[in-house]
């Protein structure tokens, strides 16, 4: 819930405004949000007129995983985003019997992820979110883990 919306509801709860006024304010808020969205979409449309190549080139193409252990061990993995997408798409096609075994094995290793819940329509959203994700872990014993896209 947005801050404005919760403020309006709070004012209604405190009796500072009537239900009718609250409704009008919420409608105005929705209209403003829709207007902002329209302008954002039209701006995006304007920006991709012509050759979309430069925009596509600007998108991250690799997922990097870097582990720098305190004892001097280093792991550096560069995974193409296309491979991540292919892997995720593959999980939705794994036969149910095999998927049960995978889930059990992962649960035994402390990773309770049910890949059966990963729907094909969610994969693009997941990959898009991955492009904006950066994880940095600095553990107390000096181990450092960094996951990012570029």
């Amino acid at each position: 819930m947005s801050e404005d919306r919760s403020r309006i509801l709070k004012m209604l709860a405190e009796g500072k405004i009537t239900a009718e006024e609250a409704e009008r304010l919420l409608d105005a808020l929705d209209a403003r949000a829709a207007g902002t969205m329209d302008s954002a979409v039209s701006h995006l449309r304007e920006s991709i007129k012509g050759d979309p190549g430069p925009l596509l080139d600007a998108l991250p193409k690799y997922l990097y995983v870097k582990v720098d252990a305190e004892n001097g061990d280093k792991v550096d993995v560069k995974i193409p985003i296309a491979l991540v997408r292919s892997g995720l798409k593959l999980t939705s096609l794994i036969p149910p019997q095999a998927m049960d075994q995978i889930n059990d094995s992962m649960a035994q290793h402390g990773m309770s992820i049910d890949f059966a819940n990963l729907k094909p329509e969610d994969i693009d959203d997941l990959v898009a979110a991955l492009r904006e994700t950066e994880v940095s872990v600095d553990s107390a014993n000096g181990d450092k883990v960094r996951v990012y896209t570029a």
Binding site: K61, N71, G72, V75, V77, L93, P95
Partner: protein
Amino acid sequence: MNALPPMILDLRVAPPDRRPVHVWLPLFLLWPIVLVLGVLALVFTVLADVVLLLLGERYHHYTILLARCFGMLWDTRGLVLRFNDKATAVEMTVQ
């Protein structure tokens, strides 16, 4: 999806107190064999899927699964793995 499949596997291993090893594996020589095997496998998966479908099984997607496996192999181009400990360094690049 990449325009081309992985062509070369470049493997470098630097073990302690020994000469570094640099192996260059021409994956492009394997692709024709993989293609033939893939086509043969596709025949079996199509048959299996048809039989499973006729039997009323819920899962009958082995053909798509095989195609996606090939797609995943195709997309390994660009993968780089590097492992270093105090003594040994290993680097694997799929080009």
